[in-house]
Symmetry: D2
Subunit: 294 residues, 4 copies
């Protein structure tokens, strides 16, 4: 290649950097003004395209500031309801949490609210449902060694992969009865199940691909435990730009103080990981768009 | 929780699994019929939302079968032009490929076509531009050991991180002159640069996040070398659902047979990794939508 | 914090950048000298720790240059044998490839060599076995739309998710008979199965976590098709630093020229994606360490 | 292929699944017994290979149960000290946190402890140092829209990408003075800097590859803010099997209750995300192995 023959790059007639920033900032300014008027985080059709399902609004609390309330608008067809790790091991009798001696009342509290939400969205809505399960291959090959060791020590000799006295099977082990989702919230045909070896789900499953293909933009998050798996998945999803709403009565932790703190942490700085609402407010929103739901 | 009090899950009045599949298959059937009439892979506004930029069509070759031709439709604002690894090390004098004794003519051949494309899209279009650079941190901490060792052996003692006789600096090392993009194709303000340690880019950079935020759906791919970095990135992007078009004169390999095979491999099975066109056909398409481009 | 009270950072008594690079380069120089003497890529115990299993060497071809031969040394306990996508859809009667009219002889050719390898390593060795399967959820929710559409067009109306005339079930759909691994190579208890929606596997499954936990450093790769899924997975693994060996008779493509080119592409530049050998040479190596294998 | 000619798969003389699990459980049983005697999580040389640097132990608190203490053993050469987001925007005057009106005392509290640790490990040890920076490209192309919008609303019209009154530059924007790491903790040559657009780092940077190549097994974590970026990165690292130790005086949050809760959440269930210690205990451990450190 002879450099002389090559026409030099044209002086660009655009400065994409500042032009692109100005465009974003102009857009955000507009949505900020809209928010001041409506207290609503509108579904951004300019970003995702026109709604594919029905639009509805859900009241959220302590937003933007503690004591305030606001609304987040959802497109039903772009919304996934996520039920995290509602497995016997975490909330059922003779499961892991029960065997460890934690108060089962705390982690089983969200069963009823999640059931209420599932009951409503399973009838006549186009909201997607995703369940996750934490657990390890029967040979423990996908369990980091320090995780297994810590479980052994805190369990006084009984940890992941062991069968506890009075338990249903090997702890946190795929295929065991205790590992599976409880009957009351069991996935139905057409709902998605993500198996994961970690607290989070995005880095080791097809969940990101699934969300992308389904066109999901907003996640409504429930499950257990609030400060561990629920927070980890909400953080991952938030980092990738999903609009995340936690239903606070649809989640629980092994320690009530940790539960409360986990809720508060989400609300900091105007919603650093998303928004917080509850099952009734969410279903009220859903019903406003799907009134004929039985 | 008393099981008796919990209303049992309703019989679902939907079978999402088959309903969802039928919806996809019905849609694909429709687009298949459209394709038979128009030979065009239309921009799927039903999937991504209405166009944000201008729509234009590009002729692609050997599609769906060898010998056939067809068109792919782009939304300019959702299209990114990707120029892969046009670094001195791969296509410039005294760079890595030159020092190794490969024919520089093969890897520098795409410079002119890429320049032609950049020249056109930099003036007046809203097509995004992404450049990638392969290279390692100066302490080689992000270079897998077997990669460094193999480079040392094939280079008869001169590999990644070494300064070859007559070379410009340490081979494939970030910050060195030979590592940077050649002057003729140097990124302009507002264009994106992805630095990567591997042949691919998706698993170790913010490229997936960038594409998601920019709303990109279609990638127009060029760069070097066809069978190594270009193919790897095209495979990654295709797996994530991006519509990928390779401009065959905008890419080159260190071996002409490998170049030809890499092109053919893309076209198998109706386009297993995407489509193939050339710089003229692409710019003809762009010009049809942006006629006032200088 | 009062800046005055804060002791200023010490002048570092180390320059990690160049020191670290020199350490890598010294190590690589040593292994390069060793290679010149032995023509062997020794198992780097300095990098991974002492062998956990038995060491054995496998002859590889066209390395470092075309016409040369060399050896790669493996630690059996850190080696995984990977059998990619040996599903009815790709190599069995009435599967996808058969239905599309491709020559089944090409993709079924690797069955016997893979069977031979499995037969040998299943008896008495500690080499791990990983199988992969490409396929989509029954509602096609993890299938990128352009993939489904292209399959429909090239299949003249019959693509992914459809039941072809004379076929066994829905093409590339999880749970269907045609989607599963062929009987002759079916996974045994204790072997790993990775389900994936794409050509690659690393970005959408727990395969990276599994390899890390199992302590795998070297992969022996077989399966179909050479230029599509096999190459994609080999590229991903190579980018993450795995030492990859392809067994050339243990792989096949739908086009013989693409198969040949895919093999050659690996060998470029001293092994840009790894090394190439065959099933007999690999098992000869295995047997040298496990002589009592039946 | 004629099925008759194919020898049927041998009956496997191993059951890898249960054998592998038993091996893990036996190992974990042994390390559990060792822990009961020594209260130490020994560096697992059986897993990672023999130490490359010097071994040292650090006292950790509330482990395995609240009120207990234990020790974690480190291999210095496999340890990385991580300083998260110690940027002016988060802990310096006129940075983002300051402008938002949060108490700078809380987020700047860890400066001195981190400085103390850096001072010690920079002299004569082989512990690696990694800094992270949160921030966005100047055109905001890697900032999820909801993140920008929320920052605008909570900031009463001044958010990410804006220049606040009395501020140093555009908030959280790469290249701005306020975005960079504070002078007192500025990276030295040979230390690593990871730029990230999210709260976490693993899914959008080369950090996983870097840790793998450097042979890191243990992370010592500090930085801000405890409940946001620090926790997110610790969760990601823990999911991938890294042994994570948080230095509690080396981290801070915008709210003291959230800080306290974040510390407690780590310690649940015997250390669900790792362990907690402080800068003095960590450096005491380091000094025991590197006594000549100035």
């Amino acid at each position: 290649m002879t450099k002389e023959k090559m026409p030099q790059p044209p002086t660009p007639n655009r400065d994409f950097t500042s032009a692109a920033r100005e465009e974003v900032l102009k857009r955000v300014e507009k949505d900020y003004e809209e928010f001041k008027k409506t207290k609503t985080f509108k579904f951004p059709a300019w970003l995702y395209g026109p709604p594919r399902g029905k639009l509805f609004k859900v009241e959220v609390e302590d937003c933007p500031r503690f004591g305030d309330k606001a609304w987040v608008e959802f497109d039903s067809a772009r919304t996934a309801f996520v039920s995290i790790d509602m497995q016997i091991d975490f909330c059922g009798p003779k499961g892991y949490v029960d065997v460890m001696g934690y108060d089962l009342g705390l982690t089983s509290a969200p069963i009823k609210p999640i059931h209420y939400v599932l009951h409503n969205i399973r009838n006549g809505t186009d909201i997607k449902v995703i369940h996750t399960r934490e657990g390890h291959l029967p040979d423990l090959s996908d369990a980091p060694y320090n995780k297994v060791l810590r479980s052994k020590i805190i369990g006084d000799g009984v940890g992941i992969g062991d069968i506890p006295k009075g338990g249903l099977g090997r702890l946190l082990t795929r295929g065991e009865k205790n590992w599976d989702i409880i009957d009351d919230l069991y996935p139905m045909p057409g709902e998605y199940v993500i198996d994961k070896a970690g607290k989070g789900a995005f880095g080791q499953s097809n969940m990101p691909l699934l969300l992308k293909n389904l066109g999901i933009t907003h996640l409504v998050i429930t499950g257990i435990t609030t400060d561990v798996c629920v927070h980890t998945i909400m953080r991952e999803a938030n980092d990738y730009g999903y609009w995340c709403l936690l239903l606070k009565d649809g989640t629980g932790a092994t320690d009530y103080g940790n539960y409360q703190a986990a809720i508060k942490q989400i609300k900091m700085q105007g919603g650093v990981f998303g928004w917080v609402s509850d099952s009734k407010k969410f279903i009220d929103g859903v019903r406003s768009a799907f009134p004929d739901t039985s």
